[in-house]
């Protein structure tokens, strides 16, 4: 363990996150991975959209671009193409990445732009007050699904594999050491890497669905069966689903890896 505090903008504290939110654990794991790789912090550029997870980049001592809702991969594309020596990392949430920003995300993956996207999935819109997201499990209560969500949800990793991401992984906020290892692996991967981090939102998801606070929500994540986890307290909703519905479990670890040409725009010498 390193002293990751040296990577923080302590002058920017206190932070905006709620008690019990796992996003801070995710940030810690990320900083550990940067430290393990001994990246030049002048060459680390973090790009984010709008939402709770996107606010993380304000607290780290790198070059940080807090963009617009969903557009972080597009900002990051311009940044990387104009300055290829930068290590570009996008931090985004599930609503940011998969709803308003879905188009930018899949095209950055398709092009195989050399960047890493950390998508923190808490299955709800936290910053705006707990509205349903494309990741909200069926049956779950959100402020816009008071009788339970009736929309199917996205499997982000399947989507990204389909779009052409060359490194796709899913990790759990409850496993910080594995997060660090996979984040370091993703950042050294040449091309577009995507990590879905299963995080939590005790303030809205936990409260609306009566599944407890941060500790309880994280403990659900730790329940595994042959590599399948049932995160986001979605166990609660299994019994409400028709018998034929697949269990809303998700496989974790590195789910896909390939080496294919990295796109860097049309530039001299081509």
């Amino acid at each position: 363990m390193s002293d990751v505090k040296t990577y923080l903008r302590e002058w920017a504290m206190p932070h905006v996150l709620c008690p019990g939110c796992a996003h801070g654990i995710v940030l810690r794991s990320f900083l550990e991975s940067v430290d393990q790789l001994q990246l030049d912090r002048d060459k680390v550029a973090m790009v984010a959209g709008i939402g709770c997870s996107s606010r993380l980049i304000g607290y780290v001592d790198f070059c940080t671009l807090h963009g617009t809702h969903g557009r972080a991969p597009a900002f990051a594309t311009g940044l990387k193409l104009a300055r290829p020596e930068l290590n570009v990392v996008v931090v985004t949430g599930d609503g940011d990445a998969l709803a308003i920003g879905g188009n930018h995300l899949i095209h950055a993956a398709r092009r195989n732009i050399d960047m890493t996207v950390l998508m923190l999935n808490n299955a709800i819109y936290g910053m705006t007050g707990g509205q349903a997201a494309p990741t909200t499990p069926e049956g779950a209560v959100a402020s816009t699904t008071p009788r339970g969500n009736t929309e199917p949800n996205f499997d982000a990793c399947k989507l990204l594999i389909g779009a052409g991401a060359s490194h796709v992984a899913r990790v759990l906020a409850v496993n910080p050491l594995e997060m660090t290892k996979i984040m370091a692996d993703a950042m050294t991967h040449p091309g577009f890497s995507f990590i879905e981090v299963i995080s939590d939102c005790p303030e809205y998801f936990g409260r609306y669905n009566k599944v407890g606070g941060g500790a309880e929500m994280l403990s659900w994540m730790a329940v595994r069966d042959e590599g399948i986890t049932i995160p986001l307290a979605s166990k609660k909703f299994v019994k409400t689903l028709p018998p034929s519905t697949p269990l809303p479990g998700m496989q974790t670890g590195v789910l896909h890896r390939e080496i294919r040409p990295v796109y860097s725009g049309v530039r001299g010498g081509q």
Binding site: R41, L65, H66, R71, T77, G78, L81, R267
Partner: protein, 378 residues
Amino acid sequence: MSAAQLLQGNEACVKGALAAGCSFYGGYPITPSSEIAEQMVRLLPKHGGVFIQMEDEIASLASVIGASLAGSKAMTATSGPGFSLMQEHIGYATMTEVPCVIVNVMRGGPSTGLPTSPSQGDVMQARWGTHGDHPAIVLAPASVGEVFDLTVKAFNLAERFRTPVILLYDEVIGHTRESVVLPESVDVIDRTQPTVEPADFWPKDAAPAGVPPMPAFGDGYRFHVTGLIHDHRGFPTTDGDIAEALITRLHDKIEENLDEVTDVETFMMDDAELAIFAYGIVGRSAHEAVLRAREAGIKAGLVRPLTIWPFPAAEVAAAARQVDTMIVAEMNLGQLIGEVERVAAGETKIVSYLRVDGEPITPTVLLDLCVSGGGGSS
């Protein structure tokens, strides 16, 4: 002097961008601007730059802003429907003070409207399209040669004031081929760099009407950029005094330096008793109409802003005080005429000639208006 070249307006735009030091283009296809992308992909790599075709216009301007933060001079080009999609990031670039150039080759609207027909329907969108109080610099060339000149100026103003600059011209100028002689070199302005060490650097340290220095990501200055209201550290705040100071500075840095921004051509105005106010392609027709009116013994003149935003209020007011009649001609249902009326009301009779059928305004109709003294209507 260089040799004469036969160039389309959209080609002149590319040449102007390269002369100004453009090294990044991110765009999305749309008529009638696509020739800019098609030329850029051929020429930019030869000049050491990078081209990318993005997935939409929202992403195009985002990529441009990202590249600009990485130290590039960057631009995109579009037309009305794409320009609507770019409004989100025009506001973002304004707030974050990221230099960039946006070209809008106007076609008829609203919506998909009249592709490949000219229009001046985006004049107010260029000024007010993005939300919130914000400044805007919008340049309106009237010829292929002027497209080159004002593209260079657009980059220079973007760098000088750290703000997005919009180059607004219509389909006729974009597609017309003219013989032009381009200058062998142009004056180029680059964004100022910090003089303090990274440890002492805050990204939004600026005097009340000042422009903060702007290092690039990767230069050793680590800083935060956000579209939220932010303090001198670049960090979000909800402090009302800081919000007011920031929004005011974004305006004042331009408003207090209008001599560097404003450009109005006056033609035969010395003894004019009637003026035509026109910009862009209509300015060309108005120029011809003034010449013909003079042949007919009418003391006509032309007031043609090359900078339409900020609106050249002082220059137009002065012209209005001089003439009996001011004919305002636009290829829309009346957009910039509202500004003319604001600054010239009571000083002169204001007559409008407006057209939205996708055809340019001809010298003949403007000459007829000169002959009839504006037709008596106002």
